[in-house]
């Protein structure tokens, strides 16, 4: 069944048993991202220590793809340098925008290669990208100093702007 290319066993495993889930202290920035079309939401915190992603924690509501992606993303970026993690984000974004034409490198993307099948479903690409975009936004806030120190980065509950690739007509 074609559906199995999207719902890979790795994805369903992460969906059933998500890693790093639950908001944790300490953190340097917290963001809230939404998919206005489907109602998926994620609140995500990052902790950056000496240029390294020390922790990512999140609380999310959404479909199996968005839940699994948050879990896989956290696994991938925690412990990596910000620079390396941002390179991974670009690699994953390229994969998701490929419509199934890119052969992912398992040595680089690890479990995230399982999302290659999702890239063939345009309506679901934004589900897979939600937590990555949230992480990128939070990390950029810390790096640029916009987040302030000691977890004061939550901008009053105001939803972050929807990233370009997540926008689509209602």
């Amino acid at each position: 069944m074609k559906l199995d290319s999207m719902y890979q066993e790795i994805i369903l495993d992460h969906y059933r048993n998500p890693h790093h889930r639950g908001l944790r202290e300490p953190y340097d920035a917290e963001v809230h991202h939404v998919n206005p079309t489907c109602g998926d939401e994620v609140t995500l915190r990052v902790r950056i220590v000496d240029g390294t992603v020390a922790d990512v924690s999140y609380d999310s509501e959404g479909c199996s793809i968005s839940q699994a992606s948050a879990s896989v993303m956290s696994d991938l970026v925690i412990g990596k340098s910000v620079e390396k993690a941002l390179a991974l984000e670009r690699e994953f974004l390229t994969l998701m925008q490929s419509r199934g034409t890119v052969e992912p490198d398992e040595d680089v993307l690890e479990d995230a290669v399982a999302f290659a099948g999702v890239s063939k479903y345009p309506a679901r690409v934004k589900c897979a990208l939600l937590s990555w975009m949230a992480w990128k936004d939070a990390t950029a806030q810390v790096v640029s100093g916009r987040a302030g120190a000691g977890g004061a980065g939550h901008a009053g509950g105001r939803p972050a702007p929807v990233p370009e690739q997540e926008k689509q007509p209602r």
Partner: protein, 435 residues
């Protein structure tokens, strides 16, 4: 003929009029189209009317004296007559063509904020601090956001009627929410997410009592129920063509003539004027005052054809036959969905005062919720098209504490076997996600 006397819709005959229903999806699976609250499919009559218009009559309207211009104008204005008759409008000048329901509702809200510049005749549309606007918690965003924006522009206060746990309007505090400060009450006739058909009479009566204008969002009712604007006793009715088997890009604002005549315009431009100088302009009478620029001519022709098609169904029983068919479908679907383990309907669980848009949540054998997006994806693989998400009615999702729902919605060509396919499809979804 049924005992009631109204001719019944022959659904198999109706389906032959819709070419798209013959197609298959995902390697040969028959299409089961249950996303009718989002948009309806188009009968051949509508497609043909639009092609004929472009092949034979295309010209701009209300200008030019050549043969094509006259034909195009006659077709465009003829569509207005058809739509007026369809909703039993007393006067064809009460039908304003818009892009869709959203634009029709925005037209009214901008008339309110433009009233400040229009002198005494626009008094009924004047709004400011101390005034109140009333909507309900079950509005589609298109009948909520324009009113929020209007209140921001004018300083008026937005209030709303809440919902009961069954998904009905809570009218317990009607007299408090609609009061002498209320200038306008705008509410949905049939909810696109809950399926609820709201009681218009008590709300309109209370609005009349306090001198407020009444706007009805008929986006989901005009395509499914016989509508008579004089019987509804409201001031404005907004609806859209594409949900009633017409094309996209055309909607309608019906308004009482005496109100349209004093209502300030929304968009300025060609067609909507009387006299123009460099300093100022006067405006055309309605409906053209509200139709600036070249209108959606082919779309109006298509909508006219859709109205003819719907009116002629079941030997002229028309919308009464459509409503009866959909009521039977809704009863059948509610009973069948109640058999699905782990399924919870969001909205009324009985078919009384309820249309054929059914939102639900589904959980697996382990009790864990299966997200609507996943439900919709696995249904799609089986050829079943439903809508998932918050259905542009996020406050309803917040009210019921759910992030999203799956929604199956029916139309005149929906069959009971398609509802059976949905029920079987949902069993497949539960199997797919069992751990």
């Amino acid at each position: 003929m049924t005992a009631g006397g109204a001719a019944e819709l022959d659904v198999e005959l109706v389906r032959k009029d819709f070419p798209i229903l013959e197609r298959t999806v995902h390697d040969g699976r028959p299409l089961v189209y249950l996303d009718n609250a989002a948009t309806a499919q188009k009968p051949r009559a509508v497609i043909d009317a639009m092609r004929d218009y472009y092949e034979l009559h295309n010209a701009n309207v209300h200008r030019g004296i050549h043969a094509l211009a006259e034909e195009a104008t006659a077709l465009y204005e003829g569509a207005r007559d058809k739509v007026a008759a369809f909703v039993n409008a007393p006067d064809r000048h009460e039908i304003v063509f818009t892009k869709n329901s959203s634009e029709a509702l925005n037209l009214v809200t901008y008339a309110f904020s433009n009233a400040a510049t229009q002198g005494e005749q626009a008094e009924r549309f004047r709004l400011g601090p101390g005034d109140e606007v009333v909507v309900t918690e079950m509005e589609h965003h298109s009948n909520l956001v324009p009113w929020q924006m209007l209140c921001q522009r004018t300083g008026a206060r937005l209030r709303w009627l809440g919902l009961t746990d069954e998904g009905r309007l809570d009218l317990g505090n009607l007299d408090e929410v609609i009061n002498e400060r209320t200038k306008v009450v705008s509410f949905v006739h049939q909810s696109n997410i809950l399926g609820t058909v709201n009681p218009v009479a008590p709300i309109a009566a209370r609005a009349r009592q306090v001198g407020a204008l009444v706007v009805l969002d008929g986006s989901q009712s005009v395509p499914h129920l016989p509508i008579d604007v004089t019987a509804l006793d409201v001031d404005f009715l907004a609806f859209t063509g594409h949900k009633m088997c017409g094309p996209t890009g055309i909607g309608v604002l019906w308004g009482r003539r005496e109100l349209l005549e004093v209502m300030p315009p929304f968009l300025g431009g060609g067609e909507m004027i009387e006299l123009v100088t460099m300093e100022a302009s006067t405006y055309a009478p309605p409906p053209h005052r509200f139709e600036a620029g070249t209108p959606m001519i082919a779309q109006a022709v298509g909508l006219g054809a859709a109205v003819d098609y719907l009116t002629g169904l079941a030997g002229g029983a028309g919308m009464a036959a459509v409503a009866a068919h959909e009521h039977r479908l809704t009863e059948y679907a509610l009973a069948r969905l109640a058999e699905v383990p782990g399924l919870q309907i969001i909205g009324p669980t009985g078919a009384v005062d309820r249309g054929g848009a059914i939102s639900f949540l589904l959980s697996g054998a382990d009790g864990r919720a299966i997200h609507p997006h996943d439900v919709g994806q696995v249904l799609d693989e089986q050829g079943i098209a439903v809508r998932v998400g918050h259905h542009c009615a996020r406050p309803v999702c917040l009210r019921f504490g759910v992030p999203a729902t799956t929604r199956a919605s029916f139309h005149l060509y929906t069959t009971t076997s398609e509802i059976d396919a949905l029920v079987e499809g949902l069993a497949g979804v539960r199997r797919f996600f069992q751990s």
